[in-house]
């Protein structure tokens, strides 16, 4: 997993509609129409968000008979890991400043 993909996943979650889609999909696979039915946005808009989530590695799709089902990809494990990478990225530069600029009490 590259740093770039962490960023893509976090950036993709920066939009409230995409977070809502992730929440809906955390309960199980859904078609575009089923997702659109639960959100105040159009079906084409849902499709656009799904494409972005798919590019970010968060969502995958599969054929189920005549319809296409979207699902969360490979659980939340990678997302948890990406989340912590982001936390440390913010925390460590701040730690360095404190460690290097204060004296032993």
């Amino acid at each position: 997993m590259t740093e770039g993909l962490h960023r893509a996943a976090l950036d993709a979650l920066g939009d409230p509609n995409r977070r809502a889609i992730v929440e809906i999909l955390s309960a199980g696979g859904r078609s575009v129409q089923e997702i659109a039915d639960q959100l105040p946005i159009s079906r084409p808009a849902v499709s656009r968000h799904l494409r972005l989530l798919k590019d970010a590695g968060l969502v995958e799709d599969r054929a189920d008979g005549t319809r296409r089902v979207y699902e969360l990809r490979d659980e939340g494990v990678e997302a948890v890991r990406a989340y912590f990478a982001e936390v440390w990225d913010r925390a460590i530069p701040r730690f360095r400043i404190v460690a290097e600029n204060t004296r032993q009490p």
Binding site: M1, V22, G76, V77, A85, R94, I97, V98, A99
Partner: protein, 143 residues
């Protein structure tokens, strides 16, 4: 799926004892408040012993558990179980080592145990759901 440990290595221009002290006793001065439960903690405490609690105390005096110290070995090594923002059953483990290099310190942080979040079967599904909602909820607050 990647559940490999997260490893971060960097150097600080200060001796290991100072770095260890800053990491633990002075945690509240550098830990981003966006990643705390109270949002504005009065104190972040590492109880300095194996089995010690790691917790945040909010301005209102309320305490929030972050984890448990597993190994307390100043000034070179610290290992703790950490579940900030997660259920204690979803804890990961963090090990930080401080190695002297001249007047500086090489810091190596390893966070592991992510594979525990992805156990097989029904439990995996439950945990997955919990993990996703935690992530999305925290993300909203951090932005």
């Amino acid at each position: 799926m990647t559940a490999d440990p997260l490893v971060i290595e960097f150097e600080v221009k200060t001796p290991p004892a100072r770095a260890f002290e800053a990491w633990t006793r002075q945690c509240a001065t550098w830990w981003p408040t966006s990643h705390t439960i109270s949002g504005d903690p009065a104190a972040i405490t590492f109880e300095p012993r194996s089995g010690g609690r790691i917790f945040e105390r909010g301005a209102d005096g309320g305490e929030h558990e972050w984890g448990t110290v597993l190994d307390w070995q100043p000034p070179t090594r610290l290992r703790y179980r950490w579940h900030l923002f997660f259920d204690p059953s979803e804890a990961t483990e963090v090990e930080v080592t401080f190695t002297g290099r001249g007047d500086d310190t090489a810091v190596r942080l390893e966070q592991r145990g992510f594979e525990r979040l992805g156990e097989a079967g029904a439990r995996r599904r439950e945990r997955t759901l919990a993990a996703w909602s935690t992530i999305t909820a925290r993300f909203v607050e951090a932005r």
